[in-house]
């Protein structure tokens, strides 16, 4: 008989393991040890209970062969001692006893198997191998189970964190509960859909419904930055196309190619009564009249966010003029792809029919949800399902009330005054516009005013530098055929600036007046602004000056024309 092991998994092989043989019959003990040594198993013999316990306390053993009756006690005494050492080692009894009750008791004490004397060595080996293999596999299983438990705990904690962040980001506004209603149902433990409503500084409302690829935390990773960008940009007063470009750019840059986010973004201008919609790969946006009839749909006309390269991305919006009494319904594809108890899909047509069947548009949201639930019955969600409903009239009056309350609040009082002189080489190197932009930013100047200010300052600084300091004839700059000539001349003169070449700026922002005063003085010889005709739209000359005059509240350019003062009023 070939007793050699053919296991390729060395961990479950007894080869090179250490076996303790506790047997008082010296001849039998040595025979067993020799037999095992021959199979490349390390052995140690012990002849009494005490000796067995002493050896096991001092050395590592992988397997124990135990006799039932020893000079100083029984096998049971050894097993009691072993259990106190808190060691998990497979034990096989080799005994002459035939008392079945005694054997049952041994099993209760942790014995794994037994053999009766006289024994067949081949059988000892087969049983040892099987026991040892089962022992190792059970250790592995326990380790796997422990690891799994740890992972599940970790996942649970992560989901808890995700839910917290989601809830926090959504920033639920209780006072709008009856105006903006949303239901987000997750098909997994975590939702890849996300709905957000925000109010911009101009009073416009922004809505965003996202449906990210995948589920769980993977989807959340796509959603979270989008929400953060949206929140920050709306707060700063950016327009929807600007926000969309940023969302797409960041996503395209940061996320893997196979990830993207289908999205509907809506901006509502309550003053103009206009609705702007961008639909990127989401189901139709539905606009209902006060009778609950669908009067307009905005279908997807863009790819999802994150797919297009920034320079290919299209942020053009659909504009809808509101005539009053409209309602808005947004949903994710999970809603119209849900299989019902009747094996049919709750498709777009069924959604439209359900909307039609609703008697009272005010209760449409709850009606749709309950119809959806009875459609699907006990069928599990196939995808994340989101449904949002907005009562546009109520929203507009809510925003207008808010604006009225705001008018009664005490006015802001801050003031900032700054004088900057730049000369010599720094005129060519310092980004004066960026400096002014950052001053306006820090002064909390409203975005729209800041953008107008930036345009004004850009014109004024470029005039002061090009025509004042560098003395370039405006004819060269305004003639596009001579553009290269202009650039060369500019470059050449910028190389030769001296400290007497100078631009002096004075910026003053008065928060309570909502007014920016700006003055720019250059070291040039000046010019006569009245010599420039600003009335001809097709002429290239004087365009900058015309722009300045239109954008600023007042413009002064006293003789000799190297100083310009403007006043810019914040839009109310």
């Amino acid at each position: 008989m070939n007793y050699r092991e053919d296991d390729t998994d060395s961990e479950i092989s007894l080869k090179s393991r250490h076996v303790l043989v506790i047997e008082d019959d010296i001849g039998f003990n040595q025979t067993v040890c020799l037999f095992l040594e021959d199979l490349e198993v390390n052995t140690t013999g012990a002849y009494t209970v005490a000796e067995g316990l002493e050896k096991i306390s001092n050395s590592h053993f992988d397997f124990i062969l135990l006799d039932g009756s020893l000079p100083d006690g029984r096998g049971a005494d050894f097993l009691i001692g072993l259990s106190k050492l808190d060691l998990v080692i497979p034990v096989m009894m080799i005994t002459a006893e035939e008392d079945q009750e005694q054997m049952a008791a041994y099993f209760g004490m942790g014995v794994d198997d037994y053999l009766l004397k006289p024994v067949n060595f081949g059988l000892i080996w087969l049983k040892m191998r099987r026991l040892y293999r089962a022992h190792i596999i059970s250790i592995r299983e326990r380790a796997k189970h422990k690891k799994l438990q740890e992972l599940l705990n970790e996942k649970h904690l992560e989901e808890g964190l995700g839910r917290h962040v989601y809830k926090h980001l959504a920033g639920e506004k209780k006072e709008l509960d009856h105006i903006i209603k949303s239901s987000m149902q997750s098909s997994g433990s975590f939702n890849g859909d996300f709905f957000l409503s925000l109010q911009g500084p101009s009073g416009n409302t922004f809505l965003m419904l996202l449906d990210a690829t995948g589920h769980g935390l993977a989807a959340a990773i796509s959603v979270l930055p989008q929400v953060a960008i949206m929140r920050a940009m709306v707060e700063k007063g950016f327009s929807l196309p600007n926000i969309l470009f940023e969302l797409n750019k960041k996503f395209n840059r940061d996320m893997p190619l196979d990830r993207f986010v289908a999205a509907v973004l809506v901006e509502i201008d309550h003053t103009l009564g206009e609705l702007y919609v961008w639909n990127g790969s989401m189901p139709d946006v539905l606009i209902l009249d006060n009778a609950g009839k669908i009067i307009r749909t905005v279908c997807s006309s863009h790819m999802a966010i994150g797919i297009m390269e920034p320079e290919e991305f299209n942020a053009s919006l659909e504009t809808i003029h509101l005539s009053g009494g409209e309602h808005l319904v947004l949903h994710s594809d999970g809603l119209v792809e849900q299989i019902g108890v009747n094996k049919q899909v709750f498709d777009t047509e069924r959604l439209a029919q359900t909307i039609e069947r609703c008697d009272e548009v005010g209760s449409l949201f709850d009606f749709l949800l309950s119809e959806f639930e009875s459609h699907r019955g006990a069928v599990g969600l196939g995808d994340d399902v989101s449904l949002c409903y907005i009562n546009l009239d109520l929203l507009t009056s809510h925003i207008q009330n808010q604006a009225q309350i705001k008018c009664l609040e005490p006015k802001k009082q801050g003031h900032i005054d700054l004088t900057v002189t730049i000369n010599g080489d720094l005129l060519a190197k310092a980004d004066i516009l960026e400096l002014l932009n950052s001053v306006m930013n820090q002064s909390q100047v409203a975005v729209e005013t800041r953008q107008t200010g930036f345009t004004l300052f850009a014109e004024l600084v470029s005039n002061a530098l090009d025509h004042g300091v560098l003395g370039i004839d405006s004819e060269i700059k305004n003639n596009h055929e001579r553009f290269i000539e202009y650039l060369e001349l500019r470059e050449q003169r910028l190389q030769n600036l001296s400290n007497s070449d100078e631009i002096k700026l004075h910026f003053n922002y008065n928060q309570s007046k909502g007014q920016i005063e700006f003055e720019i003085l250059d070291s040039g010889a000046g010019y006569d602004p009245s010599s420039i005709n600003t009335n001809d739209e097709t002429s290239l000359a004087g365009r900058g000056l015309a722009l300045i005059k239109q954008l600023a509240h007042s413009v002064e350019c006293p003789s000799p024309g190297n100083k310009t003062s403007i006043i810019l009023n914040e839009k109310k």
Binding site: P241, S316, A458, N478, F483
Partner: protein
């Protein structure tokens, strides 16, 4: 949409964009595009030189019987285009 001759304008439409702008519209005019669309949807800022470039584009387009169109202008960009009376030269979409 390959058949639309669209020039996607940058966030800042100023001198720095001159060369790119000129070569793009020249290519479109050379290809006898019936209309050239300037997409402002991402543009936050434009200066007088941008207006100048637009006037020039219009002049050249007119010679080729090409219509010039402004698309997606919002906020300050829209205001500046309005102030500059660009609707006299361009169709607003």
């Amino acid at each position: 949409m390959a058949d639309d001759a669209v020039i996607m304008l940058p966030e800042k439409f100023d001198f720095a964009y001159h060369q790119q702008f000129t070569s793009r519209y020249q290519a479109l005019l050379d290809s006898k595009a019936p209309k050239v669309i300037l997409d402002f949807s991402r543009t936050q800022y434009l200066d007088s030189s941008a207006l100048g470039m637009m006037v020039l584009l219009h002049k050249k387009a007119k010679g080729e019987n090409t219509i010039t169109v402004i698309r997606g202008a919002v906020g300050t960009a829209k205001a500046i285009l309005g102030i500059a009376k660009m609707e006299k030269l361009y169709h607003f979409e």
